[in-house]
């Protein structure tokens, strides 16, 4: 009886807690390399004097591109505005009135990469949700915004992904995507195990991948 109870307990535990969580996440399965189509031979800037796009301009750009009101782009715990409060400093702002911080950071700090990821991901998730509840999607067309896994090799799926990728590049970066960039985005049609992602997830992930590149953050 005791042995049975032990067995049951261990089995239940295995079900309840799953595999022991590893102390750090497993690296993703390598994405397929994509040919850069001659880009690497082109001359690069030797001045490289980029300007950092600060929180307010970043937010306005995302708002404009994704058709999300600025105040809805990112609110931590549903309450705390990312740009004006929770991540104001790492996103390049400064709190002059309460903290007496009269100058913003000269360049991104340690937590800036985190804050930027959160802003981009939240903005994309909100944008997708807004499109999902509309009678007709404005931006995230190409696939149905459902949780059903797509067939990644299906021609319609691929065409839909390319269509959305193009839309995202136009909106977020103001330009046409290169073929290589669209090919790279197709990597999001599957997960690390090769299983098809859903239309809903692809929309969020593609938006995040494009929105959170440094092309958004610097100019």
């Amino acid at each position: 009886m005791r042995a049975l109870l032990v067995c049951l307990l261990v089995c239940v535990m295995a079900v309840a807690v799953g595999c022991p969580p590893s102390p750090s996440p497993s690296p993703p399965a390598p994405l397929a390399p994509v040919d850069d189509d001659g880009l690497s031979a082109m001359a690069v800037s030797t001045r490289g004097a980029l300007v950092w796009k600060r929180g307010p301009a970043l937010a306005r750009g995302l708002s404009q591109a994704l058709l999300v009101p600025v105040e809805d782009l990112c609110r931590e715990l549903g309450r705390f505005d990312c740009v004006d409060f929770a991540h104001q400093v790492p996103l390049g702002g400064n709190d002059a009135f309460v903290k007496g911080q009269y100058e913003p950071l000269l360049e991104p700090g340690a937590t800036s990469a985190v804050a930027f990821d959160r802003l981009a991901l939240s903005a994309c998730s909100v944008a997708v949700e807004l499109d999902r509840v509309r009678a007709g999607a404005f931006i995230f067309r190409g696939h149905a915004l459902t949780t059903d896994p797509m067939a990644p090799d299906d021609a319609d799926t691929i065409e839909g992904a390319r269509f959305l990728g193009t839309e995202l590049y136009r909106r977020l970066h103001g330009r046409e995507p290169r073929e290589a960039e669209l090919v790279a985005l197709l990597g999001l049609l599957t997960d690390d195990e090769g299983r098809g992602t859903s239309g809903l997830d692809f929309a969020r992930l593609a938006c995040f991948a494009v929105a959170s590149t440094t092309e958004t953050l610097f100019f």
Partner: protein, 465 residues
């Protein structure tokens, strides 16, 4: 063997702490050697040029000191007159071993005594032609994105970029400037971007502003005035010369502004008559926040010097000592050697601010007559007419301001502000020529920020990727 005079030998053996030489910056810039140095263009070298932690000399300072010791005409008392020659004598050396000669660094604006302060000019781009960015020259599309993002506060949309790209070169040039014109009228620019530039000059503090619990003054007046001066081709010299204010409707108002009815304290207006005004440095907030209860408002003067002449005395910048100063008029012990290095500049800089009250009336130990916050009182202190600013006698604050706006320092600081508005950083060494042209050209712009910004977007710094 050259015999070193006994007096000079003793000098060389004397601990360096005894040899404070605040006249060094002026001596360098007034010499022939200083004419072209970056550190002398509209500013003065900071102590960091020669010192690593004053009075200790850095590698470059030690080399200059060595050159002085070898100068037969140097007799210790004529340091200011001889230091320029010593600088010239050290030009060919590379004191910090960073591969640039001392002279090269001085022309670039890097520090010849600090190996971490160096600059390598970018090479010309090489490789196949870049189909997306004109890396070897000016790129109007790149500039178009910048104009939008910086001045309108958001990047241009796809259709706008496509339309711009379809224009010919001349049309693109016009379109850039038209876009800038539109952006400079935007709420983003006037109510946000300019306000963020103003933060470090106004130094608000909510708890004692009109949004706080103890409203000692209302800094919103300052923000409106600042934004007004930077807009619509107004004269930037009004930053120090304005005798008017800007109310909540955006209208210019002249004369004394009474404190608002119903205000918790008798503050929040603008109590100075026009003849006592000197722009941003005479708002009630500025005087309240910086002068507070000081008889000699050093902090007020230092902030004015820092914010509008671009020199931060607390960082050893802008040292321009006056003979027989400091006199320690308020008994704070500033005649001590270590203090006098800076206070020989700061104290005479501050005298003209002394007749202006900070918080209430000048009275030790308690707050008195709060309604006098930021008012003028000629009898407040006896030294109010004895000031000096960059070598010019200053009998009052209005004269302080009128002289300040004629200086290269003021103009250069305007250039720094405009550059910062665009790039959010100071100019790099290879941008110095364009930067200098920007601020030197301000008189031709009628001191209009907008006109200067139109010139700025035509620079290589703005247009070359």
């Amino acid at each position: 063997m050259r015999v070193v005079p006994l007096a000079l030998a003793l000098t060389l053996l004397t601990p360096l702490a005894a040899l404070a030489r605040p006249t060094g910056p002026r001596g360098v810039c007034q010499s022939d050697a200083g004419a072209d140095l970056a550190v002398c263009q509209g500013t003065l070298p900071s102590c960091a040029l020669c010192h690593q932690g004053p009075p200790d000399l850095n590698l470059y300072g030690a080399r200059v000191f060595e050159a002085l010791a070898q100068d037969d005409g140097y007799d210790f008392d004529n340091f200011e007159a001889r230091v320029g020659d010593a600088v010239a004598a050290a030009n060919a050396d590379d004191s910090d071993g960073d591969g640039l000669s001392n002279l090269e660094e001085l022309l670039l604006g890097t520090l010849p005594g600090d190996v971490n302060s160096a600059f390598t000019a970018p090479l010309a781009p090489s490789g196949d032609a870049n189909a997306f960015y004109a890396v070897a020259g000016r790129d109007p599309r790149f500039a178009f994105r910048r104009v939008h993002t910086i001045f309108c506060g958001q990047p241009p949309e796809f259709d706008a970029i496509t339309a711009f790209a379809a224009l010919d070169e001349a049309e693109q040039g016009l379109a850039l400037h038209d876009t800038l014109d539109g952006c400079l009228q935007s709420t983003f620019w006037q109510d946000f971007a300019l306000h963020r530039l103003a933060d470090a000059r106004i130094r608000p503090l909510e708890s004692i502003g009109f949004d706080g619990l103890i409203p000692l003054a209302d800094y919103h007046w300052d923000y409106r005035l600042f934004s007004h001066i930077f807009s619509d081709d107004h004269d930037l010299r009004d930053l120090l010369l304005a005798d008017y204010h800007v109310d909540e409707s955006g209208d210019v108002v002249t004369g004394i502004v009474p404190f608002p009815s119903g205000a918790p304290l008798e503050t929040g207006g603008q109590p100075l008559p026009p003849e006592r005004r000197a722009g941003m440095i005479t708002s009630q907030w500025f005087l309240m926040n910086h002068t507070m209860f000081s008889a000699l408002p050093r902090t007020t003067a230092a902030q004015a010097y820092r914010a509008y002449l671009g020199m931060d005395i607390a960082k050893g910048e802008g040292i321009h000592p006056v003979d027989n100063e400091p006199r320690d008029v308020d008994g704070k012990g500033v005649t001590e050697a270590a203090c006098a290095v800076c206070h020989s500049t700061l104290d005479p800089l501050s005298y003209a601010f002394s007749p202006y009250n900070g918080i209430g009336r000048l009275r030790p130990g308690s707050v008195s007559r709060i309604e006098l916050t930021g008012t003028f009182d000629a009898a407040r202190v006896p030294w109010g007419t004895e000031g000096q600013l960059l070598g010019t006698d200053i009998p009052d604050l209005r004269t302080w301001a009128e002289h300040a706006v004629t200086t290269d320092a003021f103009r250069r600081n305007l250039g720094s502000m405009l550059w910062r508005l665009a790039f959010a950083r100071p100019p790099a060494p290879d941008e110095r020529t364009e930067f200098d042209a920007l601020w030197r050209g301000l008189p031709d712009d009628g001191f209009s920020a907008n006109r200067a910004l139109h010139r700025l977007i035509d620079t290589n710094a703005f247009q070359v990727p």
